[in-house]
């Protein structure tokens, strides 16, 4: 029953009149049961940018944005740990990145830290799987000084030995703590199973690799990795487009030519295995952490847009099939989702979440049902398809809010080799996706017969019910992913 008793027409009319000064020509009863029709969609305003090349060969992109006195500056390097680390030295990239804050030829670690604190910024250095970066955000006024410090950290790091030992010790403790964390256990074990230890995606940082890293490894990594021939310098925000290039050239004048973009060749994937439950025992755990998936396609796949639409329906939103069923309807979890890790290599498709221990088997049944469903057993409705597309398309205008957003939106085109008109073309590409595309990519990229199902949980209470579910054979693993 719709209750209307609170709808005093008088109060509504009077309030509107008093507060807005708008003329109330006729008093109407508000019909709250009608969804207000949306207004005209806002225009897509994609930031503009200019491209050029620095004297040392690095690409330069400048995007001006003057509504606030803020600047986002980054140097992005093509290639990451998968290209630049060896299996025996996993972790050297992270240690090198941290070591770049430990001092330069003219500033020790404390001097660097104090200078950056007084500028109200931090210079962040990160090396990810397929790219790395060094960058900062600052107010316009502090930009030149922060840039000079970044250049000093990039070009003149002193890499003190005592810092290496301290960072190594900290990372060893962090690794120990990661073994207490079900999510981190699952995120280490899953890639080992899917890609195998001969593939860089399947190789983890371990105590052994951390202990093997020497100062020479750090020096060599830095020298080989941070090279302008594979770099993009990007600045977004409140800068003067006609003078900022000279400022950057001057700050990076000692960064000598060299380096080239890596090839991103990966070894072949290991042979598939029939769908298997890999159970990692976490005695007494209140929840079971699930990761279910298989290798996926690279970002360059022509199926990218269909996959985005498909995954949005499956597990990309709150009301997507997985969360609507397993959280909202069944109450087995605080939240489940799914995603493709798109990159240059075969990034994984993963679905998962944390499930109350007693419902581990029931939740797995539902996960499998939804994975089968999106592949065809539960037809995609017109409304589902329309909502998924609307969600993806209408998200775009709001994504350029901050200087950091603008910077990363432009950089991601460069790292993935996408056209400058990518954002303008996006809506049309998503709109083109049809139900049959969704079905095709779901069946093609979610391989129901060869899934790895990693479950980290309390073996004593969940193994028997999982076995009884008959979904897949169970293999027991230790927390590193080795067979028990």
């Amino acid at each position: 029953m719709k209750s209307r008793k609170h709808l005093a027409v008088f109060r509504y009319g009077l309030t509107a009149l008093l507060l807005t000064g708008l003329t109330v020509t006729g008093q109407q009863t508000l019909d709250r049961s009608k969804i207000p029709p949306p207004g005209k969609p806002p225009a897509l305003r994609v930031p503009e940018w200019t491209k050029s090349t620095l004297a040392n060969g690095a690409d330069l992109i400048v995007s001006e944005k003057h509504d606030l006195p803020l600047v986002s500056f980054t140097i992005t390097i093509q290639g990451g740990t998968y290209q630049a680390e060896t299996a025996a030295r996993r972790g050297v990239a992270g240690i090198t990145a941290a070591m770049m804050s430990e001092g330069t030829k003219t500033r020790d670690g404390e001097a660097l830290s104090n200078a950056l604190q007084l500028l109200g910024t931090t210079v962040n250095v990160n090396v990810g799987g397929e790219s790395g970066s060094i960058g900062f955000q600052s107010t316009t006024a502090k930009f030149p000084q922060a840039l000079d410090i970044l250049a000093d950290m990039l070009l003149n790091p002193s890499f003190p030995s005592e810092a290496l030992e301290r960072l190594r010790a900290q990372r060893l403790v962090a690794l120990t703590q990661a073994k207490d964390q079900p999510t981190q256990i699952a995120s280490r074990v899953f890639p080992r199973l899917v890609y195998g230890t001969a593939h860089p995606f399947g190789q983890n940082v371990t105590e052994e690799t951390l202990k093997a890293i020497t100062r020479d490894d750090v020096v060599s990594f830095h020298k080989a990795f941070f090279q302008p021939g594979r770099a993009l310098v990007a600045v977004a925000g409140d800068v003067n487009g006609s003078t900022v290039k000279a400022t950057i050239e001057k700050a990076l004048s000692m960064w000598a030519k060299g380096g080239e973009k890596p090839a991103f060749t990966y070894p072949a994937l290991p042979a598939t295995h029939p769908t298997t439950i890999f159970l990692v025992d976490k005695p007494g755990a209140a929840q079971s952490t699930f990761v279910i998936g298989n290798p996926g396609p690279p970002r360059s796949t022509p199926d990218y847009y269909a996959l985005q639409v498909m995954n949005t329906m499956l597990g990309g939103m709150f009301q997507s099939r997985l969360n609507a069923n397993i959280r909202e309807e069944k109450g087995y979890s605080y939240g489940v989702n799914s995603a493709f890790a798109f990159g240059k290599g075969p990034g994984a498709f993963r679905a998962g979440g944390d499930i109350v221990s007693a419902k581990s088997d029931a939740a797995l049944v539902e996960f499998m049902k939804e994975l089968r469903g999106i592949g065809g057993s539960r037809p995609v409705t017109d409304e589902e398809l329309a909502t998924a597309k609307d969600s993806l398309i209408q998200r775009l205008p709001g994504t350029f809010a901050s200087v950091q957003n603008v910077n990363s939106a432009i950089v991601s085109l460069w790292t993935q080799g996408l056209p400058d008109t990518y954002y303008q073309q996006y809506a049309a590409k998503i709109s083109d996706i049809r139900k049959e595309d969704v079905l095709r990519v779901a069946s093609q990229y979610i391989d129901l017969d060869h899934l790895s199902i990693v479950i980290v949980g309390d073996r004593a209470s969940i193994e028997a019910p999982l076995k009884a579910s008959g979904i897949a054979p169970i293999t027991l693993l230790d927390i590193e992913g080795n067979s028990k």
């Binding site: 807005t20 969804i35 830290s113 109200g120 010790a169 120990t176």
Partner: protein, 464 residues
């Protein structure tokens, strides 16, 4: 919190809430806003800014876990979940469809003191967002039933498992709050509540709670982003104007506490590395001492030249990580230290080392340069927070709800920047006294790894 993917927003919210703008720049950079109140008591804050074509709507209710009754802990947060289950004219699911389904987002958060519901939508969906928020404020009970409550009860129990019970060190805050505050103090229990109390919540509890606290006179509506002011005022009046004012609310007493002596506890957890927590009761949002306590935090841990970090992580190398913080609830707060040891260093050693450093700070006070370093980043943080419509909407509503002044962020900034070495020395001596709680979290069966194990009492969890 309804969903888990909100860490970034919360961080932004904290930054925006804590800082404001240097005096010199206030004339050029600010949040232009206006505030007014509807006849039914709803406070409205409008902050137009068309830089990005989205609008953030933040509906702020002055109710949190401190308004709960003993035996019903966790109820305010459970109720937050129920608010997403549909209302009189807005069937379940339509809320997500008109936010996330059109490229926006939505979520809710519950603290000890307030509950917020917010959505960011493309600017052409503002009227829909107001329709959604007004329907659950006015008509939630029309469609409420036990099935909806039970469904979210299970979800919240899983939230508790995921964020507390199944999380290494996840119970630390709950244990500390129960030791800092007496058991009848509303800050002594956690926002998430106990499993037992969550099981006990009834539909009648939901109805009574809703009628008292979810009335327009207990609410603040802030809207920030790309919208027309006159049109928006008309919509606000149209959708919220007819919702009746609720009864007067008696707020619980949650005064700051002082501890006469040290309480020492040890808790066994499924961890491999022990950890030490030292907590002193301090002040909340309403006391200006929190500004000097925040600066004290900023000079004690963080960058490598802060005092505890420098000494323990860099010079003595006895810890891998050190953190400090002034956590301000509305009426009271705490100041705390967290230390993770390096292998071969005991919690006892670390507690003693930390005490020496704190005593030195208390007797000498900080230098002017330390204060400068601690506050130099505030301007950037503030200007940066202006890039988010949601961040702005949250900052304004917090000021209005807690200080009856949506522009309170400007006052806060002035007060942060005017903190002196003398102020920091004074609050360090006033609050960091022997009356404190020292908690050791140790691996199962390793009670001897506690700091001063002989003096530390094993903490037993109440029945869940």
């Amino acid at each position: 919190m309804r969903k888990q993917a909100l860490l970034l927003l919360i961080v932004l919210f904290v930054c925006a809430g804590m800082v404001a703008l240097p005096q010199a720049r206030l004339s050029t950079i600010k949040i232009p806003f206006e505030t007014y109140t509807l006849p039914n008591g709803l406070t409205v804050i409008l902050a137009p800014d068309n830089a990005t074509p989205t609008v953030a709507v933040n509906m702020w209710y002055h109710v949190g876990s401190k308004n709960e009754m003993p035996g019903r802990t966790g109820f305010a947060h459970l109720f937050e979940h129920v608010m997403f289950m549909g209302a009189g004219h807005t069937p379940y699911g339509i809320h997500d469809k008109l936010t996330e389904g059109v490229g926006g987002s939505n979520n809710g958060t519950t603290s000890n003191d307030r509950t917020t519901y917010f959505e960011t939508v493309p600017s052409n969906y503002l009227e829909d967002a107001l329709w959604l928020e007004s329907d659950r404020m006015g008509f939630l009970l029309d469609t409420l039933d036990i099935a909806k409550l039970n469904a979210q009860r299970d979800v919240v129990k899983n939230e508790r498992r995921q964020s507390y019970d199944n999380q290494p060190y996840g119970l630390a805050d709950e244990i500390i709050s129960s030791a800092v505050y007496p058991s009848n103090h509303p800050y002594s229990w956690s926002v998430i509540g106990s499993m037992k109390d969550l099981s006990a919540a009834s539909v009648d509890d939901v109805k009574n709670f809703f009628r008292l606290y979810y009335a327009p006179n207990n609410a603040y509506l802030s809207i920030a982003g790309d919208f027309q002011v006159a049109q928006t005022k008309a919509w606000v009046a149209k959708y919220f104007g007819s919702i009746p004012r609720g009864k007067a609310i008696t707020r619980p007493s949650a005064l700051p506490v002082a501890l006469e002596k040290e309480t020492r506890l040890v808790f066994e957890d499924r961890v491999q590395v022990p950890r030490l927590y030292i907590t002193w009761p301090t002040v909340g949002e309403k006391s200006d001492d929190r500004f000097a306590l925040s600066v004290l935090d900023a000079i004690t841990a963080g960058p490598r030249t802060t005092r505890l970090t420098k000494a323990l992580v860099y010079d003595q190398q006895s810890a891998t990580a050190v953190g400090t913080g002034q956590d301000s609830n509305e009426d009271a707060g705490v100041w705390n230290i967290t230390i993770t040891p390096r292998p071969g260093h005991s919690l006892t050693e670390l507690e003693t080392a930390a005490d020496v450093l704190i005593e030195k700070l208390k007797s000498e006070g900080p230098t002017q340069e330390e204060i400068q370093r601690a506050t130099a980043g505030l301007e950037f943080q503030f200007v940066s927070s202006l890039q988010s419509n949601l961040g702005k909407a949250m900052t304004l509503a917090d000021g209005a709800g807690f200080h009856n002044n949506a522009g309170y962020f400007q006052t806060e900034y002035q007060k942060m920047l005017s903190v002196t070495p003398t102020d920091v020395k004074r609050v360090a001596n006033k609050y960091l006294t022997k009356g404190r709680v020292v908690l050791s979290i140790v691996p199962m069966g390793k009670l001897d790894q506690a700091s001063k194990p002989a003096e530390s009492k094993p903490f037993k969890r109440a029945e869940q």
